[in-house]
């Protein structure tokens, strides 16, 4: 089998070599160290570490909340990107500048700010509590924090695609009688799907790994609002490195599978355009 570059750009061997070395150093090597470290447990110990009910509950909370946060951001991030690209209004640049803020803020600050707002005595928490809803110290709180810190991904992935999208596609739909919702669903949405999937995948992955902001608002009740990264931290603090890396390894494998799946769907979605 011969490996060839799709587009015939020269320097394929060199660039592939660089890619592989870079990925090995920055990604594979650290992961390998996790595998080696956790292998000290032996198969049996490993299984016990990762199938502990408290750990399983942690996985459930982490994956579920990250999924919901990434989905929320896919919807609202898309709307946000749409508004920023398609409308001209005073304060547009200001809002555009705000988008990256969740990245710039230390995550602990985010966590404390959210906890203050949503605690039973906070601005939002108080009216919510009056309605019998509990935001902070519940799964809702975790989702809030994860949504907040992953806002930029979908917006920034979709925005350039929307900006580049030629208006004539919409006009062609309009001339053929399509209503605005039909144009969005049948003409625009397929164009932005690959970018939307990228944004979703990035949000999801980032949310899975988030620790700093969540611990302040989650309440960290075992089996209920304890996220997997926190469990890892707890084990590390007890100098239980092997079990900590075992838990981490399962998370890594699961996220890799999910990201791989998203990439597959995405490359299928954009294959029509490449021809």
């Amino acid at each position: 089998m011969r490996y060839r570059s799709r587009r015939g750009i020269p320097g394929f061997r060199l660039s592939l070599g660089l890619t592989v070395s870079f990925l090995s150093l920055m990604v594979l090597l650290p992961m390998l160290s996790i595998v080696i470290l956790s292998s000290g447990l032996g198969p049996r110990g490993f299984w016990e570490a990762v199938s502990d009910p408290r750990v399983l509950a942690g996985y459930r909370v982490s994956f579920l909340c990250s999924l919901i946060a990434a989905s929320l951001n896919s919807v609202f991030g898309l709307i946000l990107a749409w508004v920023l690209v398609r409308y001209r209004f005073p304060g547009r640049r200001f809002i555009d500048g705000l988008i990256e803020l969740p990245f710039a803020l230390p995550t602990a600050v985010t966590g404390i700010a959210l906890a203050t707002l949503y605690s039973d005595k906070g601005w939002f928490g108080k009216p919510l509590a009056a309605l019998g809803l509990r935001a902070a110290y519940s799964e809702t709180g975790i989702i809030l924090a994860l949504t907040f810190i992953t806002i930029p991904f979908v917006v920034r992935a979709v925005q350039p695609v929307l900006e580049q999208l030629d208006r004539s596609y919409e006009e062609a739909g309009r001339m053929l009688g399509a209503s605005p919702p039909q144009i969005f669903r049948r003409v625009i949405f397929p164009e932005i799907t690959p970018a939307l999937l990228t944004g979703f995948g990035l949000s999801f992955a980032r949310a899975l790994g988030e620790y700093g902001s969540v611990v302040f608002i989650a309440g960290n009740m075992p089996f209920r609002t304890e996220i997997a990264p926190l469990l890892i931290m707890i084990k590390l603090e007890q100098f239980n490195y092997m079990e900590a890396t075992a838990v981490a390894l399962v998370m890594l494998a699961a996220s890799f599978l999910i990201m791989f799946g998203i990439n597959c769907i995405q490359s299928r979605a954009s294959s029509f355009v490449r021809g």
Partner: protein
């Protein structure tokens, strides 16, 4: 008139893109909007389609004022300059788009799309995506997609601009035949005069947001209404001072105009000339133009172009020849007048095109 524009104007934030444009097109005719870049062709086309609203004026199709009618209800098929094929849909789905929006029955859609695929000679390619088509094929799919809902008027914005020169000639002929055989009233935009002449029944010449003249290519060529049309259609060389030329001494001083190559008769040095009013000129270049020679000449410092028959006495670069400017266009305000050399006596000549 089937399609009628009456005093249409359009401004884009402070820029007057279209000024007081009026014209009419008869049913079944194929008209070209021809003009230089930025002259408002696309804007006029988009206003007819309803993709842009005119600031003033009326647009009528088949007698009905359509200004306030939704684009999709005007019965118009539109072919975009970049074709705007939906990239994530197959050829079939692209062509079927307008029909599925209208909620036609699937059987009926399949039948109509099959018919159109046959018409554009692309049966068997319906499962392809636009990225897998050549430029010419994309154009034909865009054409079929616009035709699918049976429009009564077809608008095409620079339909050949994105196609390389070789395929373009073929497609031009194809599109003209196709539109003629369907009897569909059509307007297409172009900035290429050869294209307009070859494809269109009538040409509407635009310049700086105005219509300069409308007519068949022969009309535009033989009786141009404005100096712009003289310069834009066919070949001509400008003459800044007409009264300096022999035989036109009666023209008021300062008046300018233009000369077409076929308005100039060239006589070899030893040839007998029956007319007075010939002038001496030097041959600067000789180019072969298929059926005749094109001579580049200078007359008292004024560069001129003239056609010269292959059957006449051969000339060489540097020869001093005699020439007679039989006619020229006088630019008089925004108007154009055809003047005749006084060597022919006074009074207008009708058959000035015969040599």
């Amino acid at each position: 008139m089937y399609v009628n524009l009456e005093h249409i104007s359009k401004r884009f934030d402070g820029f007057q893109a279209v000024r007081e444009v009026s014209f009419g097109i008869r049913r079944g005719r194929l008209a070209a909007l021809l003009g230089p870049s930025g002259s408002g062709k696309t804007t006029i086309l988009r206003m007819i389609a309803g993709l842009e609203d005119p600031d003033s004026g009326d647009i009528r199709i088949d007698g009905l004022r359509v200004n306030d009618i939704e684009p999709s209800r005007r019965g118009i098929g539109f072919v975009f300059q970049n074709y705007a094929l939906f990239r994530y849909m197959t050829v079939f789905d692209n062509i079927a788009f307008g029909l599925t929006i209208k909620k036609e029955k699937p059987g009926r859609i399949r039948e109509r799309v099959g018919e159109l695929l046959q018409l554009i000679g692309m049966s068997g390619l319906e499962k392809r995506y636009p990225a897998q088509l050549s430029g010419g094929q994309k154009q034909r799919v865009a054409f079929a997609r616009a035709l699918a809902p049976n429009p009564r008027l077809l608008l095409l914005d620079e339909p050949f601009a994105a196609i390389d020169a070789k395929v373009r000639r073929e497609l031009r002929a194809w599109l003209r035949e196709m539109i003629r055989s369907l009897g569909l009233t059509s307007i297409f935009v172009t900035h290429d005069q050869d294209e307009a002449i070859e494809v269109a029944d009538e040409i509407i010449v635009t310049n700086q947001g105005r219509v300069e003249q409308m007519g068949s290519s022969l009309e535009l060529y033989q009786s141009p209404a404005t100096p712009f049309v003289v310069e834009f259609i066919g070949a001509s060389t400008p003459v800044p001072e007409i009264s300096a030329l022999k035989g036109f001494d009666g023209t008021p001083p300062g008046a300018g105009g233009a000369v077409r190559p076929e308005f100039v008769s060239v006589y070899a040095p030893d040839e007998q000339v029956q007319y007075a009013h010939t002038e001496e000129a030097i041959v600067r270049s000789i180019a072969f133009r298929g059926d005749s020679l094109e001579l580049g000449l200078t007359l008292k410092g004024l560069p001129l172009t003239a056609a010269y028959s292959l059957a006449r006495a051969p000339l060489a670069v540097g020869d001093a020849v005699r020439l007679l400017i039989r006619h020229l266009y006088l630019f008089d305000g925004g108007q154009v007048r055809l003047l005749q050399n006084s060597a022919y006596g006074n009074g207008p000549s009708e058959n000035f095109y015969s040599i």
